[in-house]
Symmetry: C2
Subunit: 438 residues, 2 copies
C-alpha cells in the first residue's frame, strides 16, 4: 500500500466535525473497528467504526447508506456483529471498505444525510471486546525490557543467547482478556520470597502493568501450512493497546520450568478499537539491528521487512490513583516509549508463530511484549521503572509508588504522527485494580 | 456420588448387544459424550453417546425417545449439537441425564424400539472435537516424568523446589487440538544442538509423544472469583486421552525464559469421547504423599481430595510403523502407566488454576501432563523411554526407534477396572506423523 493513498491525505476533513480536531485519536484517516452496545441496553453487540467522538454503527450504516454491491457484501458480516468474519477477508477487501467508509464520511459526501442517523456518541456506548479471541499469544519483542529485566536476575548476562535468533513467545489466556474500563481484582497466589523457607498463599503485593501492543490476526492458515515472510503482511489485521497485568511476586516462584501462568492470567486489558494496518501505513519504518547482531534466519527475513517492517507508534503509560480521583486530579503520565524499538516486527512474530505449521485464526491476538525504550524513563513496566520495587517514584500530589495500589487506574495510550501525515490515536486502554478478596 | 449408584452395577446389560462384551470400552456403565458427522456427509455436527460399537445420536434420540420433561430440557442443547451448553449445567443435571440414558439403553427398556433408529455404527461416523475448546492449559502433575526429565538436565537436583507446592501448569494452544485420526505434519523449527554455534531452521528430528489425560471443565467461574477445593468437583465434567506431541529439539533452544511454544503447538491429539466423572466414580482412590513431602497449602487441600481425589486409570501407548502397516502387523504396546501416580489431582489442578481469579469456561481443556509411572518401562514419553534418544528400543518386526519416524502412528489407550465394577475404556487416541514440508 502506498502512503499516497488518498485516505491518508492529512488535509481530508469529515462532516463529523469532532473528527477534525487536530489532537483527536479518530480522524477520518483512522477508521478503527470496535464492538459496542448502547449503554444500558441488552441489544446484541454491534460493530462500529470510530470517527471523532462518534461511532458509525455499521448495522445502521449498512441499512441506511447507499453502497455499491461490493461494499454491501463486505458490510454484511459487520452488520451482523461478526468482526471475525470480516477479519478473515484478504487485505484488498479491507482496503475497499476503508475507501468506501472514507468517502462516505468525507466532508461534502452525499451520504451525510443518510448516515447521520447511524452515528452514536462514544459516550453513550459500552465498548466490548472487538471480536472473538480464540487464542492469545504473547511475544517478547521489547529488547530493552528483556535486557533490563534480565539485569535484575543476571547482571553479567542479561540477554539470553536465543533472544536475537528466536522471536520468543508463549501462549496466554484468552478468557481473561477484558475491554478497557473493566476493573480487575488483585489476585491471590503462592508467594515465596527468596528468604522464606516455604510459600504462603496470599494477596499479591507486587502488581505491575506491562505496556504492549496487541496484533489481531486477519486471514488465518491451515494446520501444517506455514506463512512465508513475503505473505505475512496479508495476515495482519490491526493493532490495539494491551496491558499485560502481572503479579511480580507470583511469577518467580511458579514459572520454572514451563513459564508464567497465574502471574499473568488474572486479567489482560485491551483498548476497544482496532487500528488497522491500512491506517498505520504512513507510519512504517525500518529497523536496523545493532552492528554485530546476527541477521535473522532466512525464514524470518525479507527486504520489505527490513525497510518497512517496523512501526513508529508513540506509547504512553498514565496513572490515576484513588486519592487523585478524590482530589479531582487528572491522570499523570509515567512513561513514554515507542514501538519502533521492538527487536522483531509484527510480520516476524506471525511468520515465526506459524513456522511449525501452527494454525492461526482470524481474531487471534498476538501481544508484542513490553515495549520499553532504551532510556530508563522509557520503562514499559514498574519492575523496570522502580528497579524491582527498590526505587519508589513520587506523584505530583505527594503519593509515591513502587507497584500498583488498590484503586489505582492504569491507562495506556498510543498515537502515531509523522510529517505529512495526519496524527491518529488508539483511544484509552484503562483498568482499575480492585482490592483482593478477603 | 456413591459407587452403589445402580448405573455402576457391573451386571447391567444393554439391549445394544455389542455393549455387553467384557473387554469393550463402551458398556452401558460408561456412556461418554462425543461429536460426530455421518461419514462423508456435510451435516451439522451432532452430539452422541457411545454404547458398544454404536453411537446413540442425541438429536434423533431427543426426537424419537419418550422422555420426561426434565430430561427433554437436558437433551435440548445436545440435540442442537452444543455440548458446551450442557457442560455448563451442574453435576445433578449430568447425573439425571446419565440415569435417563442408562434406563433407556438397559436390556428390557421400553425405549428400545424407539431408539434403535437413533443408533449409528461408530464405523460409519467421523468423530469431531467433542466441544468448543476456548482455552487449553497443560499441567505437569506426573512427578515421575518431572524427575526423569529433570535428571537428563540436572542429575543432582532433578525436581525443582516449587514442584511439591505448586501444581505447575502453562497455557497451550487450542487451535491445533485435533481429534483422533487427524494426521499431523512433522514441524520445522529453529534447531541448535549444544555443540553448534548458531541455530538452523529445519525439520525436527526428535518428535515425541506425551501420554496425558485431558480434563474438560464443566460449569465455569466468573473472572475474579476463585473455586474453593470443596466446590472443585462440581466443575469437573470428564476426561479424554491427550497426546501432547512434542519436538524435543525445538524446545531446548526456544523455551527460556517463557516456556515451551513451537515445540508443542504444532498439534495435540485428543480421543473423541469424554468419559464423565460420573462414569469414573467407582475408580476413585486416594493419593498418599511420600513421607517427608510437604502437605498441600490449605487452599489446595481437603479431606475428600485426600481420600478420593485420585483416579485409578490404566494408560497405554501403542505404536504402529508404516512398515508394520504394510506387513499387516497390529500395533504393539510400548508402555503402560497409571493416572493414580499423578502428584496433583484434577480438583487441585482446577482450584489452583482459578485461585487467582482466572475464569474457566465450560469446555476448557486442562491437560494433566505426562503420566509416567515409577518404573523405567512406564515412561510416558520417548524422551524418558530412550533416555533422551541415547537408547533405541526394538520393535518385533526388527525396526528400532529413538523418536517417532514419518508414517508412525501413535495410539494412546486407557481403561479403568476394579473388583466389583464394570471395566470402562476411553477409545483410541491415534495420530500419524506425516513428513515435513520440503
Amino acid at each position: 500500500m502506498s502512503t499516497t493513498d488518498h485516505t491518508h491525505d492529512p488535509a481530508a476533513q469529515s462532516w463529523v466535525s469532532s473528527a477534525n480536531e487536530a489532537t483527536g485519536d479518530f480522524p477520518i484517516q483512522n477508521l478503527p473497528f470496535g464492538a459496542f452496545r448502547r449503554a444500558g441496553s441488552d441489544e446484541d453487540v454491534r460493530i462500529g467504526v470510530a470517527i471523532g467522538d462518534q461511532i458509525l454503527d455499521l448495522k445502521l450504516a449498512a441499512e441506511r447508506g447507499r453502497w455499491s454491491t461490493a461494499v454491501q457484501v463486505l458490510l454484511q458480516p459487520l452488520a451482523q456483529g461478526d468482526l471475525n468474519a470480516f477479519m478473515a477477508q484478504p487485505p484488498v477487501a479491507r482496503l475497499a471498505l476503508r475507501h468506501a467508509l472514507f468517502e462516505a464520511l468525507l466532508a461534502g459526501s452525499k451520504q451525510e444525510a443518510a448516515l447521520r442517523g447511524a452515528l452514536l456518541q462514544q459516550a453513550d456506548a459500552e465498548m466490548q471486546l472487538p471480536c472473538r479471541i480464540n487464542d492469545y499469544t504473547d511475544f517478547y519483542t521489547g529488547i530493552h525490557h528483556a535486557v533490563t529485566v534480565g539485569k535484575l536476575f543476571r547482571p553479567d548476562n542479561p540477554l539470553l543467547p536465543n533472544y536475537k535468533w528466536v522471536p520468543i513467545g508463549y501462549h496466554g489466556r484468552s478468557s481473561s482478556i477484558v475491554s478497557s474500563g473493566t476493573p480487575l481484582r488483585r489476585p491471590r497466589g503462592q508467594l515465596k520470597p527468596p528468604s522464606a523457607e516455604t510459600p504462603v498463599f496470599g494477596a499479591s503485593q507486587r502488581i505491575d502493568y506491562e505496556l504492549e501492543l496487541g496484533l489481531f490476526v486477519g486471514p488465518g492458515n491451515a494446520l501444517g501450512e506455514p506463512i512465508a515472510m513475503q505473505d505475512a503482511e496479508d495476515h495482519l489485521f490491526g493493532l490495539c493497546l494491551l496491558n499485560d497485568w502481572s503479579a511480580r511476586d507470583i511469577q518467580p516462584w511458579e514459572y520454572q520450568p514451563l513459564g508464567p501462568f497465574l502471574a499473568k492470567n488474572f486479567g489482560s486489558t485491551i483498548s476497544p478499537w482496532i487500528v488497522t494496518m491500512e491506517a498505520l501505513a504512513p507510519f512504517r519504518c525500518g529497523f536496523e539491528r545493532p552492528a554485530g547482531d546476527p541477521a535473522p534466519l532466512p525464514y524470518l527475513d525479507s527486504e520489505a521487512n527490513r525497510q518497512q517492517g517496523s512501526l513508529d507508534i508513540e506509547l504512553e503509560v498514565w496513572l490515576q490513583t484513588a486519592a487523585m480521583r478524590e482530589q479531582d486530579l487528572a491522570p499523570v503520565r509515567l512513561v513514554r516509549s515507542n514501538f519502533r524499538h521492538a527487536y522483531w516486527t509484527l510480520a516476524q512474530m506471525l511468520t515465526h508463530h506459524a513456522s511449525n505449521g501452527c494454525n492461526l485464526n482470524p481474531g487471534d491476538l498476538l501481544g508484542t511484549g513490553t515495549q520499553s525504550g532504551p532510556l530508563p524513563e522509557e520503562a514499559g513496566s514498574l519492575l523496570e521503572l522502580t528497579q524491582g520495587g527498590k526505587q519508589a517514584f513520587n506523584l505530583p500530589n505527594g503519593e509515591s509508588r513502587t507497584f500498583i495500589q488498590d484503586g489505582d487506574t492504569v491507562i495506556l495510550r498510543a498515537h502515531a504522527e509523522r510529517a505529512g501525515a495526519r496524527r491518529i490515536g488508539f483511544g484509552d486502554c484503562a483498568g482499575r485494580l480492585l482490592p483482593a478478596l478477603a
